[in-house]
Amino acid sequence: MSDCERFEGGYLAWKNGRLAEDEAAALARHAHSCPHCAGLQEGSLRLRELLKNQPAYEPTPGFEWRLERKIKAVIAGGTRERSVSWPLLPRWAALGAGLATGLAVGVILLTAPGLNDDQPKQETQLAAQKPLAEGDHDTLSAKRDSIAVPAGHYDAGTRSRTVSGRR
């Protein structure tokens, strides 16, 4: 432990007169010789005590098991998963992508000459859009659910509600 660290650790006790005489003298000598420690204020050392008592955070349960699985994948070689998992997109980008998809579908539906005639085309268009990855963010999943119209459930009322939600 360096003299500065010793000083920081003993400062409050020193100020409150709780240090032994020789320890107090050592701290006083150090304060005279060290510009860094001489400049320390009591407040900043009280702050240090506050920060020292901050809780330690824990990863979610099962962390070791997930780590072991990834390491096995690394050892197996060539199957290493991305270390940073979903979502890679910031939330706003995922929301924007969902809205853009919804707008595109809305435009397609609006410009379709006949509802039933174009239904297979629309389903194809929906299917042809970039599929949402599994486990996507809840917001993006909600958007997907509202966009995807199952066959046989399509009617004018649903369409107008879906489209108006995108305006």
Partner: protein, 192 residues
């Protein structure tokens, strides 16, 4: 803690020699302090966990590159710190508000605190409020001060070690710690 607890350097040597249980012990010792460190730097618990995993994967894959010229804790904190910095740079996040902040409405953003077994709910609530405020103010610090204060005052590493981790001179470490503390002191004066 028993007196015959092997040091980190002994563990890494055993791990280099092929002992998987030594690696398990390293993970047990460092998962909480490293997670706390990375989480306080980047502010997102899910990504902090990803980066923590990546840190240990790098320890695993690069174990033979560790040499005892530096302490093992310096080495592993350097890996974790660099990953956190890279992630922040990649996301262009300089400040964040989700760590313990009331602005977050997503449960996933809530900090993963250690459960408190205290029987006094009022004291527990007060303690949590203080923790949340402290975390919020730490989050507002510029990254260079945030790292220094977290490593010195939360993780309680030595100035010398912090200098090695952040690759800055000792004087700069002390200066950054001081300046970070002063800023926090002003914002948290009612708690001090």
């Amino acid at each position: 803690m028993t007196t015959d607890r092997p040091s980190d350097e002994v563990l890494i040597r055993q791990f280099q020699g092929g002992s998987a249980s030594a690696f398990d012990e390293i993970v047990r010792r460092y998962r909480s302090p490293l997670f706390s460190f990375v989480y306080r730097i980047i502010g997102d618990p899910a990504f902090a966990e990803d980066l923590l995993q990546e840190t240990f994967i790098r320890v695993w894959t690069n174990r033979d590159s560790y040499r005892e010229v530096a302490r093992f804790s310096t080495w592993i904190y350097t890996i974790a710190g660099n990953l956190a910095k890279s992630e922040l740079r990649r996301r262009n996040i300089r400040r964040w508000t989700t760590l313990g902040g009331a602005s977050s409405s997503d449960d996933d953003d809530r900090p993963l605190e250690v459960a408190d077994e205290s029987a006094d709910p009022h004291r527990d609530l007060e303690r949590r409020n203080i923790q949340r405020r402290v975390n919020e103010e730490i989050a507002k610090l510029p990254l260079v001060f945030r790292q220094a204060v977290i490593l010195r005052d939360v993780q309680e590493l030595s100035y010398e070690e912090i200098g090695e981790i952040l690759n800055i001179p000792l004087g700069t470490v002390k200066s950054r710690v001081n300046r970070g503390r002063l800023r926090l002191q002003k914002r948290l004066k009612d708690l001090l």
